[in-house]
Amino acid sequence: MTDGPLIALVGNPNCGKTALFNVLTGSRQKVANYAGVTVERKEGSYVTPSGRRVRILDLPGAYSLEPLTPDEQVTADALLGRGSSKDRPNFVVCVTDATNLRQNLRLALSLKRLGLPMVVALNMSDIARRKGINIDAAKLAKELGVPVVATVGVKPSGVEHLVRVLDQLPTAAAPGAAPAVGTLVPRSEEQIERDQAEVRKILASVGADRVGGITFSDRIDAVVLHPVLGPLILAITLFLVFQAVFAWAQAPMDWVKLGVSFAGDALAAVLPASLFKSLLIDGVLAGLGSVLVFLPQIMILFLFILVLEESGYLPRAAFLLDRIMGGVGLSGRSFIPLLSSFACAIPGIMATRTIQSPRDRMTTIMIAPLMTCSARLPVYALIIGAFIPHRAVMGGLQLQGLVLLALYAASVLSAMTVAFALKRLISGKRLQPLMLELPAYHWPNVRSLAIGLWQRAEIFLTRVGTIILALMVILWALSSFPAAPPGASGPAIQYSVAGRIGAWLAVVFAPIGFNWQISIALVPGLAAREVAVGALGTVYALSATGNDIAGALTPLIAQSWSLPTALSLLAWYVFAPQCLSTLATVKRETNSWRYPLIMAGYLFGLAYLASFVTYRIALCATG
């Protein structure tokens, strides 16, 4: 990775740059349609036909070299040699959307002024051809004074020509020794207008200056962005997504449960009774099994988010929700980070780098953890399954599904309330910018969907196999030692370290109805929220006298918790203080300890308050 010339991919957002990067390097990374998905530095490499290794850097999409967002800053710094020396490219591939050259070529012109050697890639040339836009690459190359190559970023055969051109680069280029960079012409209205005049001249000479009438995307937008139909379609879409998360996941979840209990039975039958057997069955299997079972739901949620991203629908959803978000002092731009936070707050917080206004960005970061992340789903699903009867109400609607929807609604409402409060607290400019590109619709690419889903599964399984596994083993040890004194009555776990910690914590949590088992489970839940379920599995497995545990957590808690306790725990998890990795991400993104500390503090306070109110009301109501 450290040798060979560095080639940077640069281009406007939505020009298919990341897809091109994937095809070139075979790298596994996310491709999307909304502005600025490339929020991290992405580097890959490949070997050219002549056997040379070249490195490829995928820079975040930018409209200009004068940055307005943290994203654009990264790109400008790398190109102007202001960033770290390992980011200084020897060569630039300016990726353009062949269907939108009118907008894309201005960046190409300012890149050319920088004096870095460059080639222009006419990306999405297949779509352009289908639209009747035939661009003469040779002629364009003559006009621009740099090589121009037609590419199709979604399939390997579409980049063959580009690969051949890159192979003919001067070989002497050493890494980091970027050529002298020309000066950046300061941005001015006049300069932009001169560039546009140049772009018009070029487009006219290559016969691509036609500004189309009504496009296919326009016809879709007429319905999707319709003032009445649009919000309706959005509401139905989101409703179907949440329904599917539960309905479609049922069968695969049952298979996982069956597999875990089968493995538990098999191990119990062959292993002699020992400490190791307890570790394996009560610690590892009971803990991991209860988390693993939620993999299908997380996959389904991510599949929908990826399809919405890739098709170009997400920026439209942001458009439709802009007014509502404006009411609490945010813009539609915050919608995409917040929607990602339903999967996990960490990518959501990183996606806020595309928000221009620092105040908007900070508010979005602060409320992102209130969105119900997928790690909370296991906790909700467990408690709802145990306490909410499986029956239809109000003509066919599932009560369990409704409770889940209510929990999601509570999270959104509280996020809006917090945003509104922050708007009042922080006085800033009243008018917040939107300026969000609505890219042309296109069919999601099956390959990149598969790559995206696989990445997610990998991340989840890695967590299960590392952090969660380690915590389960630690928790098992804390819950098993020291052993109960001879002649003790009651389950052995009460005498262990964890049992004692739980007993202290239970004093703090008694006013909101948590017993010592829950109190113990909350502690490892800080590391990763879904661990709380696994921890309950382990704690109850060890407190039970029988041997028939793995997978039977639901009936156990249904017997031993009161309804007010269950509701109180649900309310707790709407706000539940952030997992540590989210707080670490906030620290990194805001570059200070202030925000993560404020975040943890206010969420803990809200969680305790909400649980207290819920518990007391439920106690009164149930008599």
């Binding site: 200009s64 907008q103 458009f319 802009d322 404006g326 300026m435 969000l436 042309a440």
Partner: protein, 101 residues
Amino acid sequence: MATVLEPLADAKQLPGVSLANLATGVVARVICVSTAAEGASVELALRLAELGFLPDECVRIVARGFLAREPIAVRVGTGTFALRRFEAAAVRVQPEPPHNG
């Protein structure tokens, strides 16, 4: 046509109509980006220019939000952007006669 970058004393002196008030579906040409409108700034004007709101470019409003008639989805050249009202108000346009749009 000259670009207006200096705030004018009276918004009524600005040429053409504000993009924020252009009827949906009507094709117009950009006259200039102005900093005279409320909430506008040089920063905003330059970014709008960088997105393609430049003199003589074709614009058309594709859709409007339901409440307060914002945000506004605007086609400019071959790209589409969602703008808030105050952003669109900084762009002055000249509507084209309907028959040769």
